[in-house]
């Protein structure tokens, strides 16, 4: 029971980081960033590269990786996405193509073998009678902190209010003088940072290979749909729901069936309540 509680928390926190970033991009910037998984992968690979090739300490490498990926995300938004806004569905297509480019670059640069990223905390800890790796606990802690900070940022700062305003009514926000382009860049930066952080934290205990970004992103999509497209609250709620559901299924049935959990959840959402848990419109 306790191990489900703890491992479920680890999974949920990672899913939440990915889902919140994706839903922010869609809710605020109306952008389907299908390269979202790439940020996750680049965070992990960035850490790997900097610890092995540049011999930086783990913490420094991790922070640098997140910063670089964030910068890449903002650059991508500025140079490749912004010019295509309003041109039909070129943006999702472009991001999808970019995701493939990133995967291929990683493959050509690092090969297809799984890479090893050392843990931040090598030791195991006993929590509630369960032997958990320090890395996993760190993951939950950091993810939780980051999301809390994000909440504070969005609800207590001026830039945060701009983000909220833009997500509610784009035209009105423009009339009030909110710099739309800059907010979009900010949101993209946040989205990339969240995903990269998740990648950095989970790299030590999950597989690091060029295609590692795809399934996490599909997972993020599923969670965002179940929670409600554009709703941060919904993403977190759905991340908890699905994270725990998967952990329970993994323990009671088998790991093979966990993939079907999100599939069933998405299907049920689309058929019964397309708006999702906290979504606004049903159609």
């Amino acid at each position: 029971m306790n191990d489900i509680l703890i491992y479920g928390a680890v999974t949920s926190s990672v899913y939440a980081m990915l889902a919140v970033g994706f839903t922010l991009m869609f809710g605020v910037a109306r952008t389907l960033n299908l390269a979202h998984g790439s940020f996750y992968a680049l965070g992990a690979y960035g850490t790997y590269l900097m610890t092995t090739s540049f011999k930086l300490s783990l913490t420094v490498a991790a922070v640098l990786a997140v910063l670089i990926v964030t910068a890449l995300g903002v650059a991508m938004e500025r140079m490749l996405i912004r010019p295509l806004r309003g041109v039909g569905l070129a943006v999702p297509m472009m991001t999808l193509a970019l995701a493939l480019v990133v995967e291929q670059v990683l493959f050509l640069g690092f090969g297809s073998e799984y890479r090893n990223v050392p843990s931040f905390i090598a030791a195991s800890v006993i929590v509630g009678g369960v032997d958990v790796s320090g890395q996993r606990l760190l993951t939950v802690a950091v993810n939780g902190c980051v999301l809390a900070c994000l909440w504070v940022f969005v609800h207590r700062t001026r830039q945060g209010s701009a983000i909220l305003a833009l997500s509610q009514d784009r035209e009105a926000a423009q009339y009030v003088g909110i710099p739309v382009d800059r907010v979009y860049a900010l949101v993209m930066g946040i989205s990339a940072a969240l995903a990269a952080t998740a990648g950095v934290l989970t790299a030590p205990f999950l597989t690091v290979q060029p295609g590692m970004g795809l399934m996490p992103m599909i997972k993020a999509l599923s969670i965002v749909i179940v929670g409600g497209l554009g709703s941060v609250r919904g993403s977190i709620a759905a991340a908890l729901l699905l994270g725990y559901a998967e952990t329970i299924v993994a323990y009671e049935l088998s790991t093979a069936w966990t993939e079907l959990v999100s599939l069933v959840a998405v299907f049920m959402t689309l058929v019964l309540r397309p708006a999702g848990l906290f979504g606004i419109r049903a159609r």
Partner: protein, 308 residues
């Protein structure tokens, strides 16, 4: 020369070239490459039909391709069926998948359809790996029987299939139903306001596009004699989309020709080896930026004199 005659001349010219080509440039390898190009042509044209006309982007065409290919694989290796059964069976299975994905999502506005198609193909790929005991996992299904004795015969079968598929899709596109599909692509709300049940049309178009994709998957299975989870990958979906973009969205014949050209070109780039996939993705990025209307169809329309 009127537009219709020009089109007929172009089509005949294309057919003549494609019929003669493998006889002139001999060699099993080359025929194999051309056959693959034709199969990609079926996939690209069938993607273009739904997504090109209605503007609802399908990011998971690989789902139908893989479904068709694995259907052929299962029928042939596990149930020892005659290979010819694969073709209709694959098409039917693909249609079933299209209904499963399309019916819940196409009635909703928003990105649900696009996201669901992407997710469906990826999840299906994951499932083939998870249930590796049944599907052969990474290696997939091997030892599939060929459809026809010689590669040349298979080539002509694929050519015939491609021409038939493109002809049928073009006929639908030129019909009143095609006009309504284009109207959905132009402005779906206004199309509803004109009295049409747009969801029904979209689902129908999706299913009509899925069938040839499945068929192509079966042809692929009996050509390569093996199928694997790579057929369900995002890469396959994006390749198909790239070919349609190069060909000119909404033209269908453009997608087919784009597919043949790109397949042949990438084979010529064989020396680049692992860089091939990178080249593909970069081509799409460039196309989106500089030539969103494509190359093949606009070129043909310019040659013919006047736009559609």
């Amino acid at each position: 020369m009127s537009k219709a005659y020009a089109n007929l001349a172009g089509a005949t010219g294309f057919m003549a070239v494609m019929i003669v080509l493998p006889l002139v440039v001999r060699g099993r390898y080359f025929v194999g490459v051309l056959t693959l190009g034709l199969i990609y042509g079926i996939w690209a044209a069938s993607w273009d039909f739904m997504s090109g006309l209605t503007g609802r982007e399908n990011f998971g065409h690989a789902l139908f391709i893989g479904a068709g290919a694995y259907t052929a694989g299962f029928l042939n290796t596990i149930w020892m069926a005659n290979p010819w059964w694969s073709l209709p069976a694959a098409a039917c299975v693909a249609v079933v998948f299209s209904l499963a994905v399309g019916i819940p999502t196409l009635r909703l506005s928003g990105p649900y359809f696009s996201l669901a198609t992407l997710a469906a193909a990826a999840i299906m790929q994951r499932l083939t790996l998870i249930f590796w005991e049944r599907t052969g996992g990474e290696d997939g299904l091997q030892g599939i029987a060929p459809l026809l004795k010689s590669p040349l015969e298979l080539y002509y079968l694929c050519l015939f299939s491609l021409v038939a598929v493109v002809a049928i899709l073009l006929a639908i596109s030129a019909s009143p139903w095609g006009m309504i599909l284009r109207a959905i692509g132009g402005d779906e709300l206004a199309c509803r306001a004109s009295g049409h049940n747009t969801t029904l049309y979209k689902v129908a178009a999706f299913a009509i596009g899925a069938a040839p994709a499945g068929l192509g998957g079966a042809l692929y299975a009996h050509h390569q004699l093996q199928v694997g989870p790579q057929l369900l990958s995002v890469f396959v979906s994006v390749s198909v989309i790239t070919m349609a973009y190069v060909g000119g969205i909404g033209s269908m014949y453009g997608a087919a020709i784009g597919a043949i050209l790109l397949t042949v070109l990438t084979e010529l780039l064989r020396g680049a080896g692992e860089w091939r996939l990178l080249v593909y993705s970069t081509v799409l990025v460039l196309m989106l930026f500089f030539r969103p209307h494509g190359l093949v169809a606009p070129l043909w329309q310019a040659l013919r004199g006047g736009s559609e």
